[in-house]
C-alpha cells in the first residue's frame, strides 16, 4: 500500500503543476494576443507589453513550487525516501488542490485583466503603474491558495 500513498502524492504534484501551469499558459496567451495587437501600432511598447504579459505567469511558478514541495515531502527527489501510507498520500494530494484550482482559474482571469491593461497602456503609457496593479489584484487569490497549499503540506506529518 505504500506505493499507492506515494503515487497519490505524485498525482497531487501533477495536478498542481499541470492545472496552475495551464491557467498561466492560457492567461499569458490571452495577454500576448492583446499585446501583439498593440504592438502592430507601436512596436516601441514591447517592454511594457512584455511586463504585463508576464504577470499571469506566476501561477505556473506557484504550481511548480507546490509540486516540488509535494514530491520533496515524500522523498522522490532530494533526500531519503519516506514511508507514506494511503491517507498521508491523499492528504498531500488534497493539499495540492488549492493552488491547482485557484491557479488555473486565476491565471485565466489575470490574463484577461492583463489584456485589458495592455489596451490601457496603448492609449496611456504613463499609467503603467496602475496597469500593473490591476492584474496583481487577481493574483492575490493565487497567492492565498499557494499559502494554503504550503501550510497544508507542511502540516502533514509522516
Amino acid at each position: 500500500m505504500e506505493l499507492l500513498g506515494i503515487m497519490l502524492a505524485v498525482l497531487g504534484a501533477a495536478l498542481a503543476a499541470g492545472f496552475a501551469g495551464s491557467g498561466s499558459a492560457i492567461g499569458v496567451g490571452i495577454a500576448g494576443e492583446a499585446g501583439a495587437g498593440v504592438m502592430t501600432e507601436d512596436p516601441g511598447k514591447f517592454g511594457l507589453v512584455l511586463l504585463l504579459q508576464a504577470l499571469p505567469g506566476t501561477q505556473g511558478i506557484y504550481g511548480l513550487l507546490t509540486a516540488f514541495f509535494a514530491i520533496l515531502k515524500v522523498g522522490i527527489i532530494g533526500g531519503e525516501p519516506v514511508s507514506v501510507n494511503v491517507w498521508q498520500g491523499l492528504g498531500v494530494m488534497f493539499a495540492c488542490l488549492p493552488i491547482a484550482i485557484a491557479g488555473y482559474y486565476s491565471g485565466i482571469a489575470q490574463g484577461k485583466t492583463s489584456a485589458a491593461c495592455i489596451q490601457l497602456i496603448s492609449k496611456r503609457p504613463e499609467e503603467t503603474g496602475k496597469a500593473v496593479i490591476l492584474p496583481a489584484m487577481v493574483e492575490t487569490y493565487a497567492v492565498l491558495a499557494l499559502l494554503m497549499s504550503i501550510i497544508l503540506l507542511n502540516s502533514i506529518s509522516f
Partner: protein, 674 residues
C-alpha cells in the same frame, strides 16, 4: 510629509518686458501659469500668435529632419546608457548661438533632395524588376525586342498573359486571323504557372482580325516597356547593369544621409528642444490677458520659492506690478499639488504619484507609507543572497551611469528594498534559498548563518504568518488613526470619533479580548477588551446611520455597518501574502539548488549543466520575485492602507519650465548670463 503651499500671483507687466519676464519665469521653472479667460483679440495677441506659428513651423522642420535621419543615426551609446544616462547638458545661451549659426533650411533642403532621390530610385528599381521579370519569360524570343516595344511602319504587336489551358485555342484563332502575316510567340513563366505570356506580332493590315482573335481568349494585356530593345540577352544585361548603378547610387545616398545625420542630428535635437522651449514660452504668454500697454499673467507660485520669485522680478520693478493674493487659494481655484518630503522618503514619492496625488491641502501619504513599504519589500523578497545581488547590481549601475530624477528615486527604492531583503534573508536563514546547507563546500558558513536566524518560515510558517498578520493589523489601525487625525484637523469631529474611533476601539478591543481568550493576557485585560469593543460597537451603531432620516433606518444602518468587520478581516488576511511570497522566493531558490545538486552527478556535462541551471535559475528567480515583491508590497499600500485615509484626486503641478526631450538645459549657468 506635506503638500507645498502655493500662492496665486498676478503679474501686470508693460508690453516691452512681458517676453523677458516670461523667459525669466521659465528659467525659474517653479511657477505654473494659469489660463485666463480670453477677451477677444487685439494686435498684441495676434503678434504673439504669429510668433508662435513661426516657432511651430521651425519646429516642424526640425521634426522632419529628426524623422528622416533617425534610421541613419547612431549615437554610439549602449541601450543601458541611453536608458539610464542623463541628457547632455547645455545652456540656453548655447542653444541661442546654435540657432543663429545653423542654417536649418539648407539642411532641410539637402535632406529633402536625398529623400526625393531615394523615392525616385526606389520607383525606378521596381520598374527594373518588372522589366527583368518580363525578360525572363521571353527567353528565346528570336527577334529584336524593339519589334514589340515600338513596332515598325507595318508591323505592330500585342503583349499579354493568357491562361495556360487556352494556348491551343489562341494558336488556332491567331492562324486563322493573320494567315502568314503574323507570328505567335509563347513565353515561359514556369512549369506550373497558371498564366503564359504571349507575344503576337502581325502586319497592321490584319490587326482588326487579330484583335478579334485575341478576344476569343481571356487575354490580360500588359504594357511592354517602351525602352526595351535589342536581343533578350542584351536587354537583360542592360537591366542588370542599370540596377547595379542605381543600387550603388542608393548606397551612396544612404551613406550621405548617414554622414549628414552624424554631423547634424545632435544640433537638430538641440534646436528642436530650443523651439519647444520657445513654444512653451509663447503659449504661456497666450494664456494671459493683454491690453494695449499691459499684459496680465496669473501664476501659482509655491511658497518656498516666493522669495526667489520676487527677487527675479525685481529687475523690472519700474515696468511691472506683482500682486499676491491673500490669504491662500480661494474656493473656486484649482491649485496644483506639489509634494515636499524629507530626503529619506524621496524614493517612495513616485509611488504616491503613481496612485494619484493628494488634493491641495490634503495629506501626503508618502512618509506614513515608506517604513511599511521598506519592510514589506524585504519580507516578500526575503532572501539575503538575492538582496546582495540586487544591491550590487544597483551600486554598479549607479557608479557607471549618472542617474537622476525619478530613475534615481526608483533605484534608491530598489536599493532600500534590497537592504531590507538582506535583513530578512539573514533572520530567516535564506541565502539563495538553502544554498549554504545544500552545498557541502559552504559548510563553513553554516554556523555563521545560523547564529542570526530568528525565524524558520520553511519549518514553521505559522510564526511568520502571525508576524505578517500583526503587521497588517498595525498598518490598518495606523491608517485609521491617520484618517482620524485628518478628520480632526478638518473639524469633522463626528466622523473622526464615529467612523474611525469606533472601528479602532472595536478592533483593538477584540484583539485584546482575543489575547485574553488565547491565554496571553490576564483577566483584567480581558475585561478591558470587552468594554473597549462594546464601546466601539456602541459608537458605530449610534454614528453610522447619522445620514439617514428616521430613528429606525438610523439604527438599522448603524447595526448593518458592523458587518464591515469582514472587510477589516479581509484586509488583515491579505497581509498573509508577505509570508507566501517570502516562502515562494526561498522555495524557488531551494528547488534551483536541488536541481543543481541533481545534475552535477551526470558524467562529463554535469558541471556545465549545474552552472547553467544555478546561474540561469537564480537570475530568473531574482527577476520574477523582485517584480512580485514590488507589486504585492505596493498593492498592500494602495488597497489595504490608502483605502483607510487617502483618496488622491490632486492635480500635479506643471510649472512653466524647460521641458526638453534630448538635452538638459542648465539653469544655474544661464543665471550668470542675464
Amino acid at each position: 510629509m506635506a503638500v507645498l503651499k502655493v500662492k496665486k500671483a498676478t503679474v501686470y507687466a508693460h508690453q516691452t518686458v512681458t517676453e523677458d519676464i516670461v523667459a525669466e519665469l521659465q528659467r525659474l521653472s517653479n511657477c505654473e501659469v494659469l489660463s485666463l479667460e480670453q477677451q477677444g483679440s487685439d494686435a498684441r495677441k495676434e503678434q504673439i500668435a504669429r510668433r508662435t506659428k513661426e516657432i511651430e513651423d521651425s519646429s516642424a522642420d526640425a521634426r522632419f529632419l529628426l524623422r528622416f535621419f533617425e534610421p541613419y543615426y547612431e549615437d554610439g551609446r549602449g541601450v543601458l546608457e541611453r536608458l539610464l544616462s542623463d541628457k547632455p547638458p547645455v545652456t540656453l545661451k548655447e542653444l541661442e548661438d546654435l540657432l543663429r549659426k545653423t542654417d536649418i533650411n539648407e539642411i532641410v533642403e539637402q535632406a529633402r533632395k536625398i529623400e526625393r532621390r531615394l523615392v525616385e530610385l526606389r520607383a525606378t528599381l521596381s520598374y527594373l524588376d518588372a522589366k527583368q521579370s518580363i525578360l525572363e519569360t521571353l527567353e528565346g524570343f528570336p527577334y529584336d525586342l524593339s519589334l514589340i516595344s515600338q513596332g515598325t511602319k507595318n508591323i505592330t504587336s500585342i503583349f499579354g498573359n493568357i491562361p495556360t489551358e487556352q494556348t491551343e485555342r489562341l494558336k488556332l484563332a491567331f492562324e486563322n486571323a493573320s494567315g502568314d502575316r503574323g507570328e505567335l510567340f509563347f513565353g515561359f513563366a514556369g512549369e506550373k504557372a497558371a498564366q503564359v505570356p504571349v507575344v503576337m506580332i502581325f502586319d497592321k493590315s490584319v490587326s482588326a482580325d487579330v484583335v478579334e482573335a485575341a478576344s476569343s481568349v481571356t487575354l490580360s494585356r500588359v504594357d511592354f516597356p517602351k525602352d526595351l530593345e535589342g536581343t533578350v540577352e542584351d536587354a537583360k544585361k542592360l537591366v542588370v547593369e542599370e540596377r547595379k548603378k542605381l543600387l550603388e547610387e542608393e548606397t551612396n545616398l544612404k551613406e550621405r544621409a548617414k554622414g549628414l545625420s552624424a554631423q547634424w542630428v545632435p544640433t537638430i535635437q538641440r534646436l528642436f528642444d530650443y523651439h519647444e522651449i520657445l513654444r512653451k514660452r509663447y503659449e504661456a504668454l497666450l494664456q494671459g490677458q493683454t491690453t494695449r500697454e499691459v499684459s496680465i499673467i496669473k501664476l501659482w507660485v509655491p511658497e518656498n520659492v516666493l522669495e526667489t520669485f520676487k527677487n527675479t522680478l525685481k529687475r523690472y520693478e519700474d515696468l511691472i506690478e506683482v500682486a499676491l493674493e491673500d490669504p491662500d487659494p480661494a474656493a473656486g481655484d484649482d491649485p496644483p499639488t506639489m509634494l515636499e518630503n524629507p530626503k529619506w522618503a524621496l524614493p517612495f514619492e513616485p509611488l504616491t504619484r503613481l496612485y494619484g496625488l493628494p488634493p491641495y491641502g490634503g495629506m501626503d501619504p508618502t512618509v506614513p507609507m515608506a517604513p511599511f513599504m521598506f519592510v514589506f519589500l524585504g519580507m516578500c523578497l526575503g532572501d539575503g543572497g538575492y538582496g546582495i545581488v540586487l544591491s550590487m547590481l544597483i551600486l554598479w549601475l549607479s557608479s557607471r551611469y549618472k542617474i537622476t530624477g525619478d530613475k534615481r528615486n526608483f533605484f534608491n527604492l530598489l536599493f532600500l528594498g534590497s537592504v531590507s531583503t538582506i535583513f530578512f534573508g539573514a533572520i530567516t536563514g535564506s541565502w539563495l534559498g538553502d544554498m549554504i546547507d545544500a552545498f557541502g563546500s559552504l559548510a563553513f558558513l553554516r554556523s555563521l548563518k545560523n547564529s542570526v536566524v530568528l525565524l524558520q518560515p520553511m519549518e514553521n510558517p505559522l510564526n511568520f504568518l502571525g508576524i505578517s498578520l500583526a503587521l497588517g493589523v498595525i498598518q490598518v489601525i495606523f491608517g485609521l488613526f491617520l484618517a482620524l487625525w485628518e478628520n480632526l484637523r478638518k473639524g469633522n469631529y463626528i466622523a473622526a470619533f464615529g467612523d474611525q474611533g469606533g472601528w479602532i476601539a472595536l478592533i483593538t478591543g477584540l484583539l485584546i479580548f482575543g489575547g485574553f481568550s488565547a491565554g496571553f493576557l490576564g483577566q483584567a485585560a480581558g475585561f478591558a477588551g470587552k468594554v473597549l469593543s462594546l464601546f466601539g460597537v456602541v459608537l458605530l451603531v449610534t454614528t453610522q446611520g447619522r445620514e439617514k432620516s428616521g430613528i429606525v433606518s438610523k439604527a438599522l444602518s448603524g447595526i448593518l455597518s458592523l458587518y464591515n468587520i469582514t472587510s477589516y478581516l479581509g484586509d488583515v488576511l491579505s497581509y498573509s501574502r508577505l509570508l507566501a511570497l517570502g516562502l515562494a522566493t526561498s522555495a524557488v531558490a531551494m528547488i534551483i539548488n536541488t536541481l543543481t545538486g541533481l545534475v552535477v552527478g551526470i558524467p562529463y556535462v554535469g558541471v556545465v549543466l549545474a552552472v547553467i541551471i544555478f546561474l540561469g535559475g537564480h537570475v530568473f528567480s531574482i527577476a520574477v520575485n523582485t517584480l512580485g515583491a514590488f507589486i504585492h508590497s505596493l498593492r498592500l499600500q494602495y488597497v489595504e492602507f490608502f483605502s483607510k485615509f487617502y483618496s488622491g484626486g490632486g492635480r500635479a503641478f506643471e510649472p512653466l519650465a524647460y521641458d526638453t526631450k534630448y538635452v538638459q538645459v542648465l539653469t544655474a549657468e544661464a543665471e550668470n548670463t542675464p
